[in-house]
């Protein structure tokens, strides 16, 4: 991570303490990224001869990827998940909850916060099984549906993505809510009062005064929730297994399936490499935005 050419003796001793961290990150973070680029050009597999002695196959994996309708479907599903679950769901609902809780009665606020945060802090697998029991046949939603004469017993097969979007909103909204609560708390009282004196309506105060002030928090949170949602895996594996067929296979699930279900490790790695690239582009855009924000 540190340019090796410029290292002088003094620099070396100054920066010696960073070595353990740098070595760990080089081996376990940069290593897999470099390996994934290499392996995506080979036919490396999980078992058999090509597991130990993979052959170089050039762009075959990438050509296969761009001919694979499941790959484009998977990108589309990933975009849908990020758009509806992270950007619209978690951020808008999180902001809405932050505003509600700032004006609601204290006991209601406290109890609601505990419940919403609980859905977020419980371990991944536990949250996923709760969501499964909620949406599966004979589960909670199905039970409520039958009160109204609706048949909701096969939601997981009929509308897998809708279920995953909703479950991910349930799991993650607490984070956005807390970020926005903190951000709104930091908005200076005087600015809001000045707006009130000028006769601005509450809606106007929120969108024209508060939103611009907390723009930085919004940008940061949009990015964090987007990247977190790009990484959603357990939820999909436990709720639908990526199915039916590939109807809920987002990029991480598709990569996993190709590598482990179909034993095409090289192809799975190629899909991972593309996903990492997408995440990387997102991060760079985000860092640029924060930088220009700072200079403003």
């Amino acid at each position: 991570m540190i340019s090796k050419h410029k290292r002088t003796g003094a620099m070396l001793s100054k920066y010696t303490p960073v070595l353990p961290a740098v070595i760990l990150m080089l081996v376990f973070l940069l290593g897999p990224i470099i390996w994934s680029v290499y392996a995506s050009f080979t036919n490396v597999s999980l078992v058999g001869a090509t597991a130990i002695h993979p052959q170089f196959v050039g762009l075959d994996n990438y050509v296969a990827m761009f001919k694979d309708p499941d790959f484009f479907k998977s990108i589309w599903l990933t975009v849908l998940l990020i758009l509806f679950s992270a950007i619209i769901g978690q951020n808008v609902l999180g902001m809405f909850l932050a505003v509600l809780s700032s004006k609601a009665a204290v006991p209601v606020r406290k109890v609601s916060e505990v419940i919403i945060v609980l859905a977020w802090i419980i371990p991944d697998v536990v949250g996923c099984y709760c969501a499964y029991a909620f949406f599966a046949g004979e589960g909670t939603v199905d039970t409520f549906g039958s009160f109204f004469g609706l048949d909701l017993s096969s939601l997981l097969y009929d509308h897998p993505m809708t279920v995953i979007v909703l479950a991910n909103i349930w799991r993650g909204t607490a984070f956005s809510m807390m970020i926005y609560q903190a951000a709104l708390n930091d908005v200076p009282e005087e600015v809001v009062e000045a707006g009130l004196i000028d006769g601005a309506k509450p809606m106007r105060i929120f969108f024209s005064i508060k939103m611009p002030i907390i723009k930085r928090s919004i940008l940061t949170n949009l990015m964090l929730t987007t990247l977190q949602t790009l990484s959603v895996f357990s939820l999909i594996i436990i709720l639908t297994g990526g199915g039916p067929g590939t109807n809920s296979s987002t990029l991480p699930v598709l990569a996993y399936d190709q590598a482990f279900k179909f034993s095409k490790l090289g192809y799975g790695v190629a899909i991972s490499a593309v996903t990492i690239l997408i995440g990387g582009i997102f991060s760079i855009v985000y860092m640029r935005m924060l930088k220009t924000e700072k200079e403003d």
Partner: protein
């Protein structure tokens, strides 16, 4: 006319505020109830010996807990979760204090560039890294090793750890260490005796958040640990209950409940000591 009357009787703005408060409280309560519904099943099923996915199927006994709490099904996985979480959290804290110190104190190009790279790395989608990581672990023959898993999880937690730690150190005035150097302390000595005690609260926050995220992590140990006797609770819930034909939902819920308790306790204690926002302030406000 009307408004003038109301002003004098109810205090105008005050009554409007009260209406807002009532409406906001009702809407918030409705959303909270919806959020609570998926959690209800966990409690209903855990205490029902004949549990299904239904929340109308109720019963009360501790049978599920009794059959789950044995050394093989419960003790081993929980112990593994504890070893993985403790190992990862310790490694992240030690490495990030060491790495963050020069990055916070030396205002050089190396520091600022490294910090950018670290910020970038903290955004990597770790899930997508797992298939390549599996490949590398097989090639290096460290697959199915708890040490290997801890090393990877620590590496994955380091970028955020270093970044938060650097911000904490940067907020400590350097005068104190300089005084210690004058008294003959080495840089590392000053770090250990002056800086570390001052930033104990931040170290605790990073330790706890890393411990908690490792405790709840499913995908990484699921990919890297194959032997059942090495798997943490997160994975054993999935493999033991999730894939054995007819699922014992009651036992699954009971196990899940017990496995969630430490994390909820940690959160409650941290929140009451440091306040929940400080946990994230470092990561988001940057």
């Amino acid at each position: 006319m009307m408004s003038g009357l109301q002003h004098s009787r109810k205090g105008g703005l005050g009554s409007r505020k009260r209406t807002v408060k009532v409406v906001y409280s009702i809407v918030l309560a409705v959303i909270a109830v919806i959020f609570a519904l998926p959690l209800c099943w966990l409690f209903i099923a855990a205490f029902n010996p004949h549990a299904t996915l239904s929340i109308t199927n109720t019963g009360f006994s501790f049978d599920n807990f009794k059959s789950v709490v044995s050394w093989d099904t419960f003790g081993d996985p929980i112990l593994n979760s504890f070893i993985l979480s403790l190992g990862t959290a310790l490694l992240v804290v030690i490495c990030s204090v060491l790495a963050a110190y020069p990055l916070a104190r030396f205002k050089t190009k190396v520091s600022s560039r490294s910090l950018n790279i670290i910020l970038f790395a903290s955004c990597l989608p770790i899930t997508s890294l797992m298939v390549p990581v599996y490949g590398i672990f097989v090639q290096l023959n460290i697959i199915d090793s708890m040490t290997g898993t801890i090393l990877f999880m620590a590496a994955a937690g380091l970028p955020m750890g270093i970044f938060m730690m650097r911000n904490f150190i940067a907020s400590i005035p350097p005068d104190l260490e300089e005084a210690a150097w004058v008294d003959g302390a080495s840089r590392l000595g000053a770090l250990r005796r002056i800086v570390v005690p001052l930033m104990m609260p931040s170290i605790v926050v990073i330790f706890i958040s890393e411990f908690a995220s490792t405790w709840g992590n499913f995908f990484v140990p699921f990919m890297l640990l194959m032997s059942p006797e090495k798997q943490p609770a997160a994975v054993s819930i999935y493999t033991f209950f999730g894939q054995h034909g007819t699922v014992a939902y009651g036992q699954l819920a009971a196990f899940s409940l017990l496995y969630s308790i430490p994390i909820v306790l940690i959160y409650v204690i941290t929140e009451s000591r440091v306040g929940n926002n400080s946990m994230m302030a470092g990561s988001v406000k940057g």
